[in-house]
Amino acid sequence: MIFAALPAKVYDDPTQSLNWLMPKPGELIYGGLASLVIFYALYKFGWPAAKKALEARTAGIQKELDDSAAAQVQADADATNIRRALGDIASERIKLLAEADAQAATILAEGRARITAELADIEARAAGELLAARGRLGEELRAEISHLSGVATTEAVRAAMDDRTQQELVDNFIAKVGASR
């Protein structure tokens, strides 16, 4: 149909091209055949290699997808383990804190009881020592007062013993002894 559209004059001069776009029919034939040969060769030899490359790429991508999925599964498992471990740590922490609180409360209670008992003991001893010291001081004071009063009395009597009194005492003694038998 293309050939039919071309003017008949063109075919008369072999040096002139029939159309600025279209080659000669013979070139079309040879060109078409050559293209078929090339396409065939491509189909025969290039396509398997390309297909193989595509399959290999597909397998690679699939492998990466599988690896990613496995990694995700592993990551999910790790995340689960971590979450469980975190849960365990939290519960352990709570348990430890509770035990520590209980021990602290026990120690505090024991310490308070011990300090209270010691305080009561110290107070009792202090009270006893206070009483003893009071009694001792009282005794010492009484003894000191007695001693001082004795000394004072002796000195007062000694000062009052004038010669006349001394002589009277001597004479009284002689008279008393002389009259006794």
Binding site: M161, L169, V170, D171, F173, I174, K176, V177, G178
Partner: protein
């Protein structure tokens, strides 16, 4: 020093004093000296100080008794000092007084007084104590200010105490 040794000294001193007819004087000198040594710590220490030569201690005795005691007393005391037995002097003196009193059928009456007694008081006291003891007493008076007032007499085991000190002690004991 045993009692036997003290008695030996006393016997010897009594014989010497008797031979010199000075028993009364010597036993009285010894008694007064014994009381003086008992009441004077410095004198007691000096006479007992063995680091001092014996003749030095004998000179102390001679200076102490010179003119105040019989020669026999001075010699007998010097003997005790020289033999290093001056610490026995109070016991020896007391035993000598007792021996001298016994020889005269008398009882020793030691009287402590705060003040010195007059001769008249001593005579009346000796009579009164003799009456109380039932036989004459050889009166030995010691002036002892610690009795404060009154007298305390010791005749053998009997003590007649009428001192102010004892009365004060009795009053203190009640409180």
């Amino acid at each position: 020093m045993s009692v036997a040794q003290i008695n030996a000294y006393v016997a010897a001193m009594f014989e010497i004093a008797s031979a010199n007819d000075a028993v009364s004087v010597v036993e009285d000198d010894m008694f007064r000296l014994a009381r003086a040594i008992e009441s004077n710590e410095q004198l007691r220490a000096a006479l007992n100080d063995t680091s001092l030569p014996a003749d030095r201690r004998q000179k102390i005795v001679e200076q102490l008794l010179g003119g105040k005691a019989h020669n026999v007393t001075v010699q007998l005391v010097s003997l005790l000092v020289g033999t290093g037995h001056v610490s026995l002097l109070p016991q020896v003196a007391d035993a000598l007084v007792k021996r001298a009193s016994s020889s005269k059928q008398m009882e020793v009456a030691e009287v402590r007084s705060a003040v010195a007694l007059t001769d008249a008081q001593k005579t009346r006291l000796a009579e009164a104590l003799g009456k109380a003891a039932g036989k004459p007493v050889n009166l030995k008076v010691v002036v002892d200010p610690s009795v404060i007032g009154g007298l305390v007499a010791t005749i053998g085991d009997e003590v007649i105490d009428d001192t102010v000190r004892t009365r004060l002690d009795q009053v203190k004991a009640r409180f």
